[in-house]
Symmetry: none
Subunit: 219 residues, 2 copies
């Protein structure tokens, strides 16, 4: 079954909203989608008809299992495209959201499978969010981007943003790998570089680009 871009946007937004509360409300969703409550009600009826939504009027709503599956498929597409834009087309991780919003609505199972393979089956997008696999499963991890780690908060490297040989080369030269413990000493506004300190070694600086490719779990 295929869905319109509008339906997909509703499904995705409901999915995200129900992460914080089981039931989503009409006003909440209208605010999220920058539309009016009346428009939301209209769409809810359509989604219910297609068995994507559990909804009784005035009672709030949530995605059905089918709806959740669809949501994960859209999120998968979105995050794979973001990964592509950052790691292949050299976009900054903060520039890709809008473009991925459009790309995620392209409907081709084969395209996404081939893209996934081309990117080497990445498990996290450039923001550190996990990418669902073909079956909608994804890693649950509290990792954050190194660039968002608070200074002096000890943490452990838990993932790298890509498997490119260029990145891996740089990481091995700097002696950074999965499990490396480090903390941020200082962040520099000028070039967004950050100084980090790996346990028992002298602090050194890394570029913004490198920091964005590293994910850590606070300890």
């Amino acid at each position: 079954m295929n869905f319109t871009a509008s339906e997909e946007n509703y499904i995705k937004a409901i999915y995200h909203l129900q992460q914080s509360a089981a039931l989503v409300t009409t006003n909440e969703l209208a605010a999220q989608l920058k539309t009016k409550p009346a428009s939301v009600t209209d769409m809810l009826k359509k989604l219910k008809l297609k068995d994507l939504l559990l909804y009784e009027k005035y009672q709030g709503f949530q995605l059905s299992n089918k709806g959740k599956k669809v949501a994960l498929g859209i999120i998968r597409k979105h995050r794979l495209w973001e990964y592509f834009l950052v790691n292949k087309l050299q976009f900054g991780w903060d520039e890709v959201h809008e473009i991925a919003e459009d790309l995620e609505h392209i409907n081709s199972k084969l395209l996404i499978e081939r893209l996934d393979a081309f990117l080497n089956f990445p498990r996290f997008d450039p923001h550190g969010d996990p990418i669902p696999d073909v079956n909608g499963r994804m890693e649950v991890s509290k990792q954050i981007n190194l660039i968002d780690l608070a200074p002096h908060q000890p943490a452990e490297v838990s993932a790298v943003g890509s498997q490119s040989s260029e990145l891996l080369d740089l990481l091995s030269h700097k002696n950074i790998g999965i499990g490396t413990r480090l903390e941020v000493v200082k962040k520099f506004i000028f070039d967004h570089s950050i100084e980090i300190k790996i346990e028992d070694t002298a602090p050194f600086s890394i570029s913004q680009q490198l920091a964005q490719s590293l994910f850590v779990k606070p300890l």
Copy 2:
């Protein structure tokens, strides 16, 4: 200025049709887009209002200079995506048209510039068609229609006349693709069929219709 996917499809179709005849007609365009003449008339009015089209009712129409520029931008996007799908995602050249039809409507100047750079500024798409550059300029290749190729002149298939699945199906059954080397053995007046010989294989005949859909570069 941005356009809807539907407007873009009309503009692109008009562009292609006016390659063979200066003025395009309503019925022609309706057939091309698999829609009805009445729908075409409606859209023509919109395109005229946006100064993309030179159109007086009942008199046929053609793209304005502005319209041509827009068309070349869409064609550029389409062909770059086709190149990406074939050369990066391992699609066959006969599988990519539909997906590129969707991707071409993604609106981001920056995305296309980055994609172009990532692909190393290719000048021809996988079907042998030239890719317009940022300014809408493209190479005019010296390819000729197979029907005009002199007997016993070795040549290489460089493009196909359409992307219809019927044509692509026929070509793959006959083992003809971009890059295939062949020569014309004999032309038959009676039905305008021609006998061709692909390097190291037995000669066989193809219809006039098929020959007209193949473009070659003499070697």
